[in-house]
Amino acid sequence: MDSYNTKKTFPNRPARVALSQYQNNAEVSLSPIERLIKTYDAAIFNLRRGDVQKSSDAITELVLALNFHKSAPANVKEIASGFLNIYEYCRACVRKNKLEAAANLLQELRDAWEESFKRQREEQFQA
């Protein structure tokens, strides 16, 4: 009987394990900004696909990445507050089913991160 119970054992099947390991390795090898951009991509992808649950999870990831630690400098917290406001606004958009509006806002930030990241890389190469 156990051999028919594939659903239970599915997460442990070799292909799944390999995929999971690949994902972990791929993400671990990313820089923080690249990971952040990936999270934006996940949010935007799911918003445009209409997957409310996954887009909300991705926005939650973005919120969890914010730095409100007590030792953080004031200007860092100030910028983090700006991000938080936007993420909360996106959440509100998702609740009101304005998925495209939320996707557009996040896209704008994602593109800024990418541009900034590229610029940073250029500077590193030139240094």
Binding site: P32, L36, D41, E61, F117
Partner: protein
């Protein structure tokens, strides 16, 4: 750092300072340079809103003054109705009432009239320092709506008509009743027959007072309409100004944050990428 990067950074800094100003002021048009047409329209709409609000303030002042005038004239009307009752009692009782009783009626009538003597009229009925009873109030030049010519006395307003924006002299209103307002009612100074009741004159005086009350109440109605109109104008012009001028906060916050990402990458990274979590790929 190459020249392109420096240029991009300068541009990002400039954009950032502009969006920060936008967010701080709550306005997307902060100077003529931002949007010439928008600035002009927003300023004109703001002026219109303020003028309409000021005109409504004038109207409310006039309303308050008219309230006091109406309340006082209603007192005069009540006194005149009492005079009418006394007149009827006096005329009906002139053959059956004793001299003392007739004298008492006359004294009450004269005492009532005395409340409206010149001294009383000169001091008791004022609004904000202005005497209401002498007919000296002239509302014709009071600006009741937007536009320099939109005054209470303007032909386009229903306040018009001969002397329509000037209240009546109250002494004249009372004097139509032919009951003297300056009779001496002190003990010993009053003789029977001093007050001559004229039922027709009292009737006329009552009519005059009621006509004046109706006129004042009519002004109030017109003023209320004017206030409603001013308020509607003020709110619609304020909405117009807001459409041109006020910030879409979400868009401005995104612009400001985007500016921070571009010009302060290290700080922005500390603020928004402070995590070791790696779940993103699992979300696709």
């Amino acid at each position: 750092m190459n020249i392109n990067v420096l240029g991009a950074l300068a541009s990002a800094n400039s954009a950032l300072s502009h969006t920060q100003l936008t967010l701080a002021s709550g306005k997307k048009v902060n100077s003529v340079r931002d949007d010439q047409t928008g600035y002009m329209i927003a300023r004109r709409a703001e002026t219109s809103t303020r003028v309409n609000n000021a005109a409504s303030g004038n109207d409310a002042d006039l309303m308050g003054m008219l309230n006091v005038m109406i309340a006082s004239l209603q007192d005069m009307e009540a006194d005149m109705i009492r005079e009418q009752e006394l007149s009827m009692a006096y005329n009906a009782g002139s053959t059956v009432l004793s001299v003392d009783e007739l004298t008492a009626i006359e004294i009450e009538a004269a005492t009532l009239a005395n409340q409206w003597n010149d001294d009383q009229l000169a001091i008791a009925f004022t609004y904000n320092g202005y005497l209401l009873s002498d007919g000296g109030m002239d509302f014709s030049t009071v600006q009741i709506g937007e536009g320099a010519t939109n005054t209470a006395g303007a032909a386009s307003n229903t306040f018009v008509g001969a002397n329509a924006s000037t209240p009546r002299v109250w002494a004249e209103l009372w004097d139509a009743s032919a009951i003297d307002r300056a009779t001496d009612v002190s003990a010993g100074g009053f003789a029977q027959g001093t007050v001559a009741f004229d039922a027709g004159a009292i009737e006329l005086a009552l009519q005059d007072i009621r006509t004046e009350l109706a006129r004042l109440a009519g002004w109030q109605n017109q003023l209320q309409e004017q206030i409603n109109s001013n308020d509607a104008n003020a709110s619609s012009t304020d909405a117009l100004r807001s459409r041109w001028e006020d910030t879409d906060t979400a868009a401005a916050t995104v612009a400001a944050t985007r500016g921070a990402i571009l010009s302060q990458i290290a700080t922005a990274q500390l603020a928004a990428a402070n995590t070791a979590r790696s779940y993103a790929l699992g979300l696709f």
